[in-house]
Symmetry: C2
Subunit: 283 residues, 2 copies
């Protein structure tokens, strides 16, 4: 396993970690100034700014874009809505290409509101992904399916385990062309009894496109905004990273924390300093 000590160039910051409190150009500068090698911006920030200019800024600072967050949810109640979701994702993939993103992060969406048909939602997800593969190929931006924690199955993502994500990848891209893979996020998968085997399988398929860290707090109060700083929770981070790297991943380690009552209240530079320290010592 790589030693991250003194290697912030191997570390990336997902801008959600700072709570989306300022324009992206300022965030980009902060992240570069703190010495990180990468950034993962969100669409809301990019779309609120000047795409080409942001792309130039990121490039000039030599930051790797470890992912572009994130897809419009796919499942829809009508064909019109479904098609609109596809178009929104196509536009985002084009933007991801301009940013030079290593992948487009796919949080696939949950049940169609009002529906109890998880199979239908999962079918729609596969249909949508198949359609988007062409755009991903055309623009050279791989789709990174991110399995979300099962507690988000209803309202955020019906892809909930790494094994399930790999299965989808293999079904839609059996030739393993590199156009689709998986984003492994410790928050979503740390509990999985099949974690080691699943990571090995996704690695063997050459499909680990991103690796996200944060922590799971022993007593988690809020289901969305209570993700901990690495080291503050219960996840055995070195063990998971060891699996991921053993499975062939050699990309950046991205920090992605949603914690409204803590990290989103603090001075962004101080948050980045703590991320840097934790990435080098406990991840």
């Amino acid at each position: 396993m790589r030693n991250l000590q003194g290697r912030l160039d191997l570390c990336s910051i997902n801008t959600a970690t700072l709570g989306h409190r300022e324009p992206l150009n300022q965030t980009i500068d902060r992240i570069a100034r703190a010495g990180f090698g990468g950034i993962a911006p969100w669409r809301r920030e990019v779309e609120a700014g000047d795409l080409a200019q942001l792309a130039r800024q990121i490039k000039s600072l030599d930051l790797t874009v470890t992912g572009y967050c994130r897809s419009t949810y796919l499942p829809a109640a009508t064909t019109t809505e479904f098609n609109a979701n596809i178009e929104a994702n196509r536009a985002a993939i084009r933007d991801a290409a301009v940013l030079g993103a290593q992948c487009f992060v796919m949080v696939v969406g949950g049940l169609v509101p009002g529906s109890r048909d998880v199979q239908d939602a999962r079918s729609q997800v596969i249909d949508g992904i198949e359609i988007l593969l062409d755009t991903a190929r055309e623009y050279g931006v791989p789709l990174a399916l991110e399995p979300l924690h099962p507690m988000y199955a209803a309202n955020r993502a019906v892809v909930n385990t790494i094994a399930q994500a790999v299965q989808i990848c293999e079904a839609v891209d059996p030739a393993r062309t590199g156009v689709i893979g998986v984003a492994v996020d410790v928050y979503h998968c740390w509990w999985d009894p099949e974690l080691t085997a699943s990571i090995a399988a996704v690695g063997q398929a050459g499909r680990i496109l991103a690796y996200h860290v944060c922590d799971w707090m022993y007593e988690t109060g809020d289901m969305l905004l209570d993700r901990g700083m690495m080291g503050d929770g219960v996840i055995d981070l070195p063990s998971v990273r060891s699996c991921v790297e053993h499975a062939g991943y050699n990309g950046l380690v991205e920090t992605e924390i949603f914690f409204a009552q803590n990290w989103w209240q603090r001075d962004p530079d101080k948050v980045l300093a703590i991320c840097a320290e934790r990435l080098q010592t406990v991840c």
Copy 2:
């Protein structure tokens, strides 16, 4: 699939559904009066009353005890604590026998507080179960492993999928003697991409010992106390029951709801009436 219309004799009430607001003897009477065929009481209620008398009351009302809730968590920081957990469970299994319970519900416990070693916690769980099998055999009360939703992996149970539970059962009781099986609760497993296959596997092993229903609210606010009434959420209840019965389960359907801000505030008889109506119409 069985038709539950007019068949409350096939339905059971877990007393947690009523919020543990009154002595168990009153709850027993209410549940019998409402026409249910079964009850699943909690230790705190039984231990606060007179075990033999409660057992006689339940028997005289011809209620099936669909489960006795629940085990003391197994993983511990020291051998002394671990052994104390085993003894507490042994005592509870003896009480379960007096109550005539069809199974002793095992919520196995999470990580040892302060530890990040989920493998160790899972090993301790298996060790503990192996020790308790003797007691379960001696008193004729099968252990029902209940996989809890992955969001409880840290602090409540490191057994999180039906597949994992079956694997443990097969490891500790390869001869399938009937001493250990699985409690399937829709709340914990509805999201599982492998749900159909897992239920088929646990059924094929003859190990479905209990079936619990409630619902998952589309927007779940509280991780513990926000379980919905059947029909109010997103779970396709007839589809899951169909799988379970197709897999050979012919026991009672038990309602277990934890919903502090709603059902635990309402008149118990009215809650039971709504459970009865929902069990017959949407489950």
